[in-house]
């Protein structure tokens, strides 16, 4: 059953359970879903290009230890060594970051998002460029629907953070505001 779910989830990719492959050998499997140029073309699958190595290490650890449950990643990370996690994180951080797919056309939504970003200080930890730093992820030009999913996950506590920061931050943010934030951040230049 699990295998079927996995295959469905993966859609475009072959399901490869953890094996004795090296990190370099396994990388194409990752990028097949996450985007070879760092930019995911698949709904629900985040772009990983330019992601902070520290953050990637933390997330892979959380997948491996099932502190963050999000198949197929828990399966993918199963059996990876600490050094594997470090190697993946290092490689992924050097893949080019995603680019905006279009300019934002809805000025009202941009205005609301910009105000929200200032009020909630998103730009303090994620930086004004949204490139992130260390354990704070790059979110600039991440896929819009993935940003929505991540923020909703923090809000309903279905996604535990490594620390409690995002749960605290999103607690008072409404779903409409999440949509505005994702709209803008997915399109920043």
């Amino acid at each position: 059953m699990r295998r079927i779910v996995l295959a469905l989830t993966l859609g475009c990719c072959a399901a490869l359970p953890a094996s004795a492959q090296t990190v370099q050998e396994r990388l194409p499997t990752c990028l097949a879903c996450h985007g070879e140029n760092g930019q995911s073309q698949n709904a629900g699958v985040p772009s990983l290009g330019g992601q902070q190595a520290f953050y990637v290490t933390v997330q892979l650890l959380m997948f491996r230890e099932r502190m963050r449950v999000a198949e197929p990643m828990n399966d993918m990370a199963k059996g990876l060594s600490d050094d594997d996690l470090r190697s993946f994180a290092d490689i992924i951080s050097k893949v080019p970051p995603p680019q905006p797919t279009e300019a934002p056309t809805d000025a009202d939504r941009v205005a609301r998002a910009v105000a929200l970003i200032q009020q909630n200080r998103c730009n303090v930890c994620h930086l004004p460029s949204f490139a992130g730093q260390q354990n704070v992820p790059r979110i600039a030009d991440q896929r819009e629907e993935y940003l929505v999913k991540a923020l909703r996950g923090y809000k309903d506590n279905s996604r535990h953070g490594y620390d409690g920061t995002m749960a605290d931050v999103v607690a008072p943010i409404t779903d409409a505001q999440i949509l505005d934030l994702a709209y803008y951040i997915a399109r920043v230049k």
């Binding site: 650890l61 600490d82 941009v110 910009v114 929200l116 009020q119 004004p128 260390q134 620390d163």
Partner: protein, 467 residues
């Protein structure tokens, strides 16, 4: 003095207050009208001025079509319903808005993986002449509080991992086991009569006959969960007193906040979770306490607030001489600084002052009285304190094991660094969290930076191979 504060409007008012002095100004929320006497310094700004005062540059909006007017705060305001103040747990609360140097400070990210045994810089850690420090066990990411079973098993809690580890010791051969996974911020561990007690963020549980279940993935049984769920200072230290009760803290839910009567305190209860009572107040966040073996008085560390200044306040070492004492937070810090926000209308003389100042932003965490006989007699019944090390300070402070010597009456005679080298050139090589006596008179130190435990011994080395 025991404070009783009603949670609702006051807390909401307090939050608005923080916003007024925090990094950026917020719009008024309706709750602010319910705020209690506002400390003088915080007149509410007119709503429209709020976002304009934000010190951090606004993200570029160049991507917006030229036709779109540049979003101004005024235009945005009607569309954005009263946005939240900083969440109470935010490390940004209280940060001076105009300081570039302050804006560079943030909590030091916690390494997600343990350092490999052969890469742990034990040789960089310095003990006084005659003492030795060696690696006891490694491979336990985010190793935090320590407890010891009567069979010699060392239990190690964690905070950002979901695990409690067990280090078994059979015939001098040590092995690290994952005892339990899937816990939520299981920082606190304590052991008594075969049972391990575990304090997670918002519940306390136990595993009976734990030594028989080291590799059996035992499931902890919850004994107490009448606890808040705040992330900020929500992780717990757990210890067992000479009165055979479990002691634990409920921290202040944020850097500097007026809190309700469920926070900012020490509690104790029976081993089955019954009889819980609040025994001390005005505690911001203690992550270590122990009882004076002679007087049986409880001593505890408490971490001072962030952002007051580079050099103040000091963390505290406190002593409870009577039930119900109040140690001042958030009204008074280090016994003699009325808090600039909440201290108005109060005097530090209302509160019990600390017995020692542990250094600015030092993060004094675990502490134990040394009760062994291996170390020279002058160390007997004195206190070792793990100072995790600061984040809220440009030139970091702490990152050592401090020795606090006491006078006969239990007051503090001296404070000096004992084991150093965890902090070098303003970088951490390790961060001590807890200390613990071992039956042979040696002392263990946990380090959540390397995910390791060290052993400090005295006398000619009988080298114990590390893992």
């Amino acid at each position: 003095m025991i404070r009783r504060i009603s949670a609702g409007p006051l807390l909401a008012g307090a939050l608005c207050l923080f916003a007024a002095t925090a990094v950026a100004q917020q719009q008024d929320s309706p709750a602010q009208s319910a705020a209690t006497p506002a400390p003088a310094a915080a007149p509410a700004p007119p709503p429209a001025a709020a976002p304009a005062m934000t010190p951090t540059p606004a993200p570029p909006v160049a991507a917006a079509p030229a036709a779109a007017p540049a979003p101004t705060p005024v235009a945005a305001a009607p569309a954005v319903p009263a946005a939240p103040a900083l969440p109470p747990g935010s490390p940004l609360i209280g940060r001076p808005a105009s300081s570039e140097a302050a804006s560079r400070l943030a909590p030091v990210p916690i390494p997600p993986l343990a350092t490999a045994a052969d890469k742990i810089p034990v040789d960089q850690f310095k003990a006084p002449k005659g003492f030795n420090i060696e690696l006891y066990a490694s491979g336990m990411p985010n190793a935090r509080s320590l407890a010891l079973s009567d069979k010699g098993t060392v239990f190690v809690g964690s905070r950002v991992q979901d695990k409690v580890y067990a280090i078994t010791n059979k015939d001098g051969k040590r092995q690290v086991h994952v005892l339990v996974s899937g816990l939520y911020r299981p920082n606190g561990v304590a052991f008594k009569n075969g049972t391990l007690y575990i304090a997670e963020l918002s519940q306390i549980s136990k595993i009976d006959n734990v030594d028989d279940k080291i590799d059996a993935s035992p499931k902890p049984v919850v004994i107490y969960n009448d606890l808040p769920k705040d992330e900020a200072h929500g992780w717990k230290f757990l210890a067992i007193g000479p009165d055979n009760k479990l002691y634990f803290e409920v921290g202040q839910p944020g850097n500097n906040v007026l809190h309700d009567d469920a926070h900012g305190q020490l509690r104790r209860m029976n081993f089955d979770g019954t009889g819980a009572e609040k025994i001390a107040f005005g505690i911001r966040n203690t992550v270590g306490f122990d009882w004076n073996p002679k007087t049986k008085e409880l001593y505890f560390t408490d971490n001072g607030r962030d952002w007051l200044s580079e050099d103040l306040p000091n963390d505290e070492l406190n002593r409870i001489t009577k039930l119900g004492q109040d140690f001042g937070a958030p009204y008074c810090y280090q016994g003699n600084i009325a808090d600039p926000e909440f201290g108005w209308g109060h005097s530090c003389s209302e509160f019990v002052p600390p017995v020692a100042l542990m250094g600015p932003h030092a993060a004094a965490l675990g502490m134990r009285f040394y009760t062994g006989t291996m170390f020279p007699a002058e160390y007997r019944d004195q206190i070792f304190v793990a100072r995790h090390g600061s984040w809220n300070k440009t030139n970091k402070f702490g990152g050592d094991i401090a020795l606090v010597k006491l006078n006969k009456d239990g007051s503090v005679k001296s404070l000096e660094p004992f084991i150093t080298g965890f902090l070098q050139n303003n970088n951490y090589l390790g961060r001590p969290v807890d200390v613990m006596n071992m039956p042979d008179g040696s002392m263990l130190i946990s380090d959540d930076w390397n995910g390791a435990v060290y052993r400090v011994s005295y006398g000619p080395t009988k080298k114990v191979a590390g893992r």
